[in-house]
């Protein structure tokens, strides 16, 4: 194997891993803070991708104008969902999971009805490729990596360094005691949905020029992100990042040497066997 080839595969791994990391970030946040396995994350991602199509391709907006609009819009949809649907049953964990499942497939089938079956194109903003150390990466993927990285850093900064982040972490541990400090549980949950759904939408908007848009892309993505956060350790953000890149590396090497479909089968089998042996994931997080 040549060294440039190795670099190329690693670059591909990073670009794949960044997408998975971005996908998993919001999901693991909602799980870590609110203990919700938010299946509808996939639907929000799908909506994000279609937002790119409608805002850019249909309305002709600049991609970088569409990006914040889409993220905020879908984040707000998340807030409305939290207030209208999740809040009334917040203390019933089983019902919440079913509700998230219902929402995901409700939005997916609505997507079929509204968006139709035909894949939708979104023109890529960046054409051409960047070169370094003999490896090439298309600019549009480089942008995904960059924005993904920024999102991770921003989320980390938000959680660790801001007052609201502190409130969220306090809430994650003990909602009642947080409430006693004046950290309103309602506000934290709304904020969590805003950020979680916003991140899902961001992932969708970013991949829209690269991937093929279909309404089922969400369910597929949710399974992948579940595997990512499961492998990483549920609720752990560093775990999600590590496992996203592990999966990115397997996928990148696998596709280069073995072909795409067998690689995905291997990833499934690898993750499932790993989880069967060590169900708490890489970071070993267990929440009672």
């Amino acid at each position: 194997m040549e060294i440039t080839e190795l670099i190329q595969i690693t670059v591909n791994a990073i670009s794949i891993g960044a997408i998975y990391a971005l996908l998993a970030l919001g999901l693991t946040l909602l799980f870590g803070i609110m203990d919700i396995l938010f299946f509808a994350h996939g639907a929000m991602y799908m909506l994000g991708a279609y937002a790119a199509y409608y805002l850019c391709t249909k309305l002709g907006l600049n991609y970088f104008v569409a990006l914040p609009i889409g993220v905020i819009l879908i984040g707000l949809i998340g807030v409305v969902m939290e207030k209208g649907l999740f809040r009334p049953i917040r203390n019933d964990h089983v019902a919440i999971i079913f509700l998230a499942i219902g929402l995901n497939w409700f939005l997916e089938s609505t997507g079929f009805v509204v968006f139709g079956l035909r894949p939708k194109p979104v023109a890529s903003v960046f054409t051409g490729q960047a070169h370094f150390f003999g490896a090439t990466i298309s600019w549009e993927r480089a942008v995904v990596v960059l924005i993904g990285l920024l999102a991770v850093l921003a989320l980390y900064f938000f959680l660790m360094k801001t007052r609201w982040g502190l409130g969220m972490r306090a809430f994650a541990e003990d909602p009642l005691t947080a409430e006693l400090q004046g950290i309103s549980n309602d506000t934290v949950c709304s904020l969590g949905f805003l950020i979680g759904c916003g991140l899902a939408a961001l992932a969708g908007l970013l991949v829209a020029p690269i991937f093929i848009l279909t309404p089922t892309m969400g369910s597929h993505a949710v399974l992948i992100s579940l595997l990512v956060i499961g492998l990483g350790g549920l609720g752990s953000i560093p775990g999600a990042l590590i496992s996203a890149f592990i999966i990115g590396i397997i996928e990148s090497f696998g596709t280069s040497y073995l072909g795409a479909d067998i690689t995905w089968g291997m990833i499934f089998i690898f993750v499932i066997i790993f989880l069967i042996i060590r169900p708490t994931g890489i970071m070993g997080v267990v929440r009672e």
């Binding site: 609505t110 079929f112 089968g265």
Partner: protein
């Protein structure tokens, strides 16, 4: 410290529950007898088919619910139904087994996989279990698609033979050339499954699951090894579901990986919640009502899923006990109104 007082109210309730149980047992018996008579009057192949599909979906849904009731968030019912279908088809078509052997064998194989997956993962919180079972189901789907030999690849397996004929010399021959033969087989499978589940729920087993729902720690403190029970329940239910999957394969003559996607599990989850998971009757009602309603959109699967998931959301928010809780709720509302009426009367100064 809690004070323990004898609660006469509660004892009365307990006796009441016993009576209600006997009553519902009678209802079920009556229903089965009626269902047994259906083919005598109903000749339409279409309606028979709808009923047959209902029967095996009731098996999927009730076994799914049983696992749910052990406190595990099962997301891989499709995996085990699929194992049942593929295993029995391969045993019949490749190994030349009789269907009557292959079906239970397929159940055993699925149960084996259930133990393999369940043993390490069932001790964890339900969410992990959800991820692993879903991933397992999709891994299997990948394997079916990828390996043409022996799984038939993405196109699946065609021309699956029906069950071998049964001949009772001098009396009748059941050769599965008619829908009614399948009808009785499906009905019998459903009744056996419901009976097994019923017995499990009535036994020590069921009591333990009650305890599990109250909180794992409680049951553990009482010294019950929940793990073994959970694994056993998971294996038995997966095996029964797999046998229904085997029936499905030999009934439709054709299976493909698409039949065993996560959507199957989603549908079962929706049937369970919409009907109400507290009781068997709930799941059965959910399955029957939704499958009938789904017939309206037969062939338009997106609209069907739209309706089902919409139904699920509405039920979760407004009728947490599911459809089955509706009659009880209505009578309670009625009696509460009466109560109030009485109060007003008593408070009336005149």
């Amino acid at each position: 410290m809690t004070r323990v007082r004898p609660d006469p109210d509660r004892q009365g309730k307990f006796l009441g529950e016993m009576k209600a149980q006997q009553k519902s047992r009678l209802y079920f018996l009556g229903l089965f007898v009626l269902l047994g008579l259906v083919p005598l009057v109903l000749r339409s192949e279409y309606y028979l088919h709808v009923l047959i599909a209902m029967f095996y979906h009731v098996i999927y849904a009730t076994t799914y619910r049983f696992i749910l009731r052990t406190g595990q968030f099962h997301f891989g019912a499709h995996a085990f139904v699929g194992i049942g279908a593929y295993a029995s088809v391969l045993l019949v078509m490749r190994a030349g087994w009789s269907f009557w052997l292959a079906m239970p064998a397929a159940g055993l194989i699925a149960a084996f996989f259930a133990v393999l997956i369940g043993y390490p993962t069932l001790r964890l919180k339900g969410i992990y279990f959800a991820i692993i079972t879903w991933g397992f189901g999709d891994t299997l789907r990948f394997i079916y698609m990828r390996f043409k030999e022996p799984f038939g690849g993405p196109l699946g397996i065609f021309a699956i033979p029906g069950p071998n004929p049964i001949t009772i010399p001098g009396l009748i021959t059941i050769d599965f050339s008619q829908k009614t033969h399948f009808y009785f087989l499906a009905l019998a499978l459903m009744i056996v499954t419901l009976y097994i589940l019923h017995r499990m729920e009535q036994s020590r087993f069921g009591l333990i699951f009650g305890a599990i729902r109250e909180g794992d720690r409680l049951a553990r403190a009482v010294g019950i090894n929940i793990m073994n029970y959970k694994v056993l329940a998971f294996a038995v239910c997966s095996g029964l579901g797999a046998m229904a999957g085997s029936f499905y394969a030999h009934y439709t003559y054709y299976i493909s990986p698409l039949d065993f996607s996560v959507l199957l599990t989603i549908y079962l989850a929706i049937y369970t919640v919409v009907g109400g998971q507290e009781r068997y009757a709930g799941v059965i009602v959910g399955t029957v009502v939704l499958m009938l309603a789904g017939e309206v959109f037969a062939g338009y699967s997106h609209y069907q899923l739209l309706m089902y998931s919409g139904f699920l959301i509405v039920i979760l928010l407004f009728l947490p006990g599911g459809l089955i809780s509706l009659p009880g709720l209505l009578t309670r509302v009625g009696s509460r109104a009466e109560e109030k009426e009485g109060e007003k009367f008593r408070n009336d100064p005149a």
